[in-house]
Structure formats: structure tokens, C-alpha cells
């Protein structure tokens, strides 16, 4: 599903964010990217949805090298990739239903499809009955569930999660991880950047560890070291 071949990305001559990174992620796999702040986790995620481009190397997503993908084709790529963020990135003037529906509306899904699929995904993330709530009327965990619902409503092949539990207390974070695990079991590939040692050690999924842009460990059913 995802393949990186000798990928290098730097932001200046002194700052190399990712250096000569190579790995494969199979369809339906759940992978943690771990490492200290500035180790290149977020940069890797940004390269997977073409927010950033590497100077060298190839990034294959769903069988296509996206490094040289023409700009006009990038939206099509992104329709197959869901994004979850530490700060949720919800639209504050839209309610829960509208936030999730927005992801379908902007890619031109018809209204009857939106009316059918949004309640289903809100039910999946445990937010049924809260469709009319505004983001500021929700807890942090609930806001992250809205963000996950928005990322998943178009049934992407891949979910990229950047520190999704970073702003949540441990119990709420565990709830979010159970939800991501459920989504992963539907066949969706998940790549998640995290600092959260407890979650990584509990989930026992594949772990790719980065240190100053270099992959120093790639371990199946790994733990945080």
C-alpha cells in the first residue's frame, strides 16, 4: 500500500528532516512512527499525502509514485487518504454533522449520500445523538472522534494520524486507540505518529523508530524504547 525508497527531505542545508528512509507498509497494516520531537515523523506523514515532496527518493502510495504526481491529480490521491491531527482541525462554526459532511460536500458527494453516510460514521465513532453539537460543546475526546469520523467518512484506503492522542488524558486516548483499531480491522491501513509510550506498548503493532530523520528501528509487534 505504501513504499518509501531512499527518501530524503531537508528544510535547509543544516536541517535534514528525513534521511534516506525506506520501508513498506502492507494493506491493512497498523504502523506506529515513534521518536522524539523533530525526528521527522510529521514530515514523513506530510510526504505521504503530498503536502511535502522529498528532494530524493520515491514515495509509492497505492501503486503510484506520488513524488512527481501532477498537481491536478493530488486531490484524487487525497480522497484515498484520511488525516487526523493532534489539534483536531474542526471548523468551529459548523456543528458535528456539518464538520463530517463537509469532507463529502467538498468532493461533490450528492446530498442523499451525505445524509446516509454521515450518521453511519457518527454511529461508528460513538457520537450518535450529538450531530447538532458545536465543537466547543464537546470534550477533547469527542472532538477527536469527530475528526476521525471526518477522516473516515469517505472510506479512505489509508489513515494518517499525527499525535491523535497528544491532547487527551490516558483514558480518553485509549478510547481513541480502540476506535482506530476498529477502523484498522475494516482493512484501512493506518500510519500513526506518536510520543505515547503507553499506547504503543499496549497495542503491540509494528513500530518504526526515527532519530534525527534516520530510521533506527523497524520492528513487528514492537514496543516504545
Amino acid at each position: 500500500m505504501i513504499r518509501l525508497e531512499n527518501v530524503t527531505k531537508s528544510y535547509s542545508t543544516e536541517v535534514v528532516a528525513v534521511k534516506d528512509a525506506s520501508f513498506d507498509v502492507a494493506k491493512g497494516e497498523f504502523v506506529f512512527l515513534v521518536g522524539p520531537s523533530g525526528s521527522g515523523k510529521s514530515t514523513l506523514l506530510r510526504m505521504l499525502n503530498r503536502q511535502d515532496r522529498p528532494e530524493r527518493g520515491a514515495v509509492w502510495v497505492a501503486g503510484r509514485n506520488i513524488v512527481d504526481l501532477p498537481g491536478a491529480r493530488v486531490p484524487m490521491l487525497r480522497r484515498n487518504i484520511g488525516n487526523i491531527f493532534q489539534d483536531y482541525k474542526l471548523l468551529l462554526e459548523k456543528n458535528v454533522f456539518e464538520n463530517v459532511a463537509f469532507a463529502q460536500e467538498v468532493i461533490g458527494r450528492p446530498k442523499h449520500v451525505i445524509r446516509q453516510q454521515v450518521p453511519a460514521v457518527l454511529d461508528l465513532v460513538g457520537l450518535s445523538g450529538k450531530e447538532e453539537r458545536m465543537p466547543n460543546q464537546l470534550s477533547g475526546g469527542e472532538q477527536q472522534r469527530v475528526s476521525i469520523a471526518r477522516a473516515f467518512v469517505n472510506r479512505p484506503l489509508i489513515l494518517l494520524a499525527d499525535e491523535p492522542t497528544g491532547n487527551l488524558d490516558p483514558a480518553t486516548g485509549e478510547g481513541i486507540m480502540r476506535l482506530l483499531d476498529r477502523i484498522n480491522k475494516t482493512g484501512t491501513t493506518i500510519v500513526m505518529a506518536t510520543h505515547d509510550q503507553r499506547i504503543v506498548n499496549t497495542m503491540r503493532k509494528r513500530v518504526i523508530q526515527l532519530d534525527r530523520g534516520i530510521i533506527v528501528r523497524d520492528q513487528a509487534r514492537g514496543v516504545y524504547e
Partner: protein, 300 residues
């Protein structure tokens, strides 16, 4: 398709509401600048009316008495042909042609215009000289024709044309320059309004891009917003121009006869053409301002 259209219009009008102060400012600026453009067009047309009877290089007009006979006219025509070394060409403006010209020249003096009809209007011979710079020669030709049979009056263009053309050039250049600057200000204000609208919605745009919205899908509501600024500005300017022209027309009717302003009144429907031009320029200014902003500031 319908859902996209609904989305586009909803976002456009939401943006109007969220950005009300800047929106109103850019519409007013567009309206004032377009009104300036419209007034420039109208004033130029007014000067064209003043020069109407001198169109095509005509320097001398022989007005015939309404009761001039066919023989008298034939004699004048023979003399015009005979003076081929001084007169390059000539044309005859019959009763119908003279009545049409009267409608333009006396547009602002309907009282006077009503007194002239097909029974008493002088027909005209319009002559183009071989050398319009030889004023003394032209003056002597004019004097010779004024003695002819059936001739009411012979008018020599030199002084009148020169003054009108100077005025037209003076006002035309300065008004166009002023309108150009005002239009530029309107485009820049629309550009800035759209940039502010994009900045205010940067989070939304980021999410849209990440879920796979195309750049055009994101851009079109902003471009439509700018286009509407220009079109609304153009509509307000058109309304302003209509009021201005109506009041000017009424005002000139109250001026003393032969004040010289009668021809500066536009009654031939040209004002409607100018209104359409203003709407077009407004739409173009809006599209340019918003198009540049939406293309330049979308990468946020």
C-alpha cells in the same frame, strides 16, 4: 452538480456576510470608479455631438433656404464641382438627414427643436477642402458661396472645431486617467477583500485540500465573490449614471437658448450602451482582482 452549485453560492454569500465592511468598501469604490468611467464616455459623446456636423473633415457648410429651388441647388452643385482645386469632395444632407442631425445637436433644447420641422429646416452642402490649413483661401471660398442663389448661410468650421476638439482632448485625457486610477484602486481593493476572505477561512481551506477538494472547487466561490463585487459596483454606477444623465438633461433645458450645452445632452440611447459597458468593466475588474488573489493565496 447541483450540490456543488449550492455549495458555491452558499459559500459566496457567507463570505459576503462575514466580510461585510470590506465588501461594502470595495463595492463602493468599484461603483465610484465605474461612474467616473461612464461619465467620461458620456462627456466624450457629448463633444462628438457638438462635432457631429463637422464629421469627415468637413470645414464648410452651405445651409440652403428651405424654399430653395431645384435650379438654385443645381447651380450650387455646379459651383462646388467647378472649384475642384479647393474642394476635394462634398455631400448633400437632405431634409431627412438634416432632421436627424437637428435631433442630436438640439437634444438639450427641445423647445427650439420642436420649432424646426421638414417644412422649415435648411438642407446642407458639406464640403471637404483640399487643404484645410489654408484658412485665407477657405474664408474667400466661403464668402463666394454665401452670395449664391438660395443660400441661407455659409458656416466656416475653423474656430469652432478647434475649440471643441481642444476641450474634448483636455477633458477626455484627464477623465480617463482619473478613471483608470480609480479602477485600479477598485481592483486592488477587491483583491485585498478576497485575500482577507481567504485568510479568514484558511483552516477550512486546509481541511478542504486535505480531504481532496480541487483547487478550482476552492477557488470558484472566491472568484464569484469578486465578480459580484464588480457587477454590483457596476449596477450602482449604472443607476448613478442614469440619475446624473436625467438631471443633466432636465437642467440643460432650463439653460438659455444657444448656450452651447444643448448638444452635450445624450438622448440617443448611448447612455444605455455605457451602462452595459460599465457592468462589463465592473465584472472584468472583479474577476481580475479576485482571480489573482484566489490563485496567489490559496497555498495556505
Amino acid at each position: 452538480m447541483l450540490s456543488r452549485l449550492r455549495y458555491t453560492f452558499r459559500e459566496t454569500f457567507d463570505s459576503f456576510r462575514r466580510n461585510a465592511t470590506l465588501t461594502v468598501a470595495s463595492i463602493i469604490t468599484a461603483a465610484i470608479s465605474l461612474l467616473g468611467v461612464g461619465l467620461t464616455f458620456l462627456s466624450q459623446h457629448g463633444f462628438d455631438n457638438l462635432l457631429a456636423k463637422w464629421e469627415g473633415g468637413v470645414e464648410m457648410i452651405i445651409f440652403m433656404r428651405p424654399d430653395a429651388t431645384v435650379d438654385q441647388r443645381a447651380l450650387i452643385e455646379q459651383n462646388l464641382d467647378a472649384n475642384g482645386q479647393f474642394i476635394e469632395s462634398w455631400s448633400y444632407c437632405d431634409v431627412e438627414c438634416s432632421l436627424l442631425e437637428k435631433d442630436r445637436v438640439l437634444a438639450g433644447e427641445p423647445g427650439t427643436a420642436d420649432l424646426v420641422d421638414e417644412t422649415n429646416i435648411p438642407t446642407q452642402y458639406k464640403a471637404v477642402p483640399t487643404d484645410e490649413t489654408d484658412v485665407d483661401l477657405l474664408r474667400s471660398v466661403t464668402e463666394a458661396f454665401s452670395e449664391g442663389p438660395g443660400v441661407f448661410e455659409v458656416v466656416f468650421a475653423e474656430d469652432q472645431i478647434s475649440l471643441i476638439e481642444q476641450l474634448q482632448s483636455f477633458f477626455g485625457f484627464r477623465l480617463f486617467l482619473l478613471s483608470g486610477f480609480l479602477l485600479l484602486a477598485a481592483v486592488l481593493l477587491i483583491w485585498n477583500t478576497i485575500r482577507t476572505a481567504i485568510f479568514a477561512r484558511r483552516r477550512e481551506i486546509e481541511v478542504m485540500k486535505l480531504v481532496g477538494a480541487t483547487d478550482w472547487f476552492i477557488r470558484i466561490p472566491f472568484m464569484l465573490e469578486g465578480l459580484l463585487h464588480g457587477v454590483i459596483g457596476g449596477s450602482l454606477a449604472s443607476a448613478g449614471l442614469f440619475v446624473w444623465n436625467s438631471q443633466w438633461t432636465n437642467g440643460v433645458q432650463g439653460f438659455p437658448e444657444n448656450s452651447g450645452f444643448a448638444a452635450l445632452v445624450i438622448t440617443d440611447g448611448y447612455d444605455k450602451t455605457v451602462m452595459l459597458i460599465m457592468l462589463g468593466i465592473g465584472a472584468l475588474a472583479g474577476a481580475i482582482g479576485s482571480g489573482i488573489a484566489a490563485s496567489k493565496f490559496l497555498d495556505i
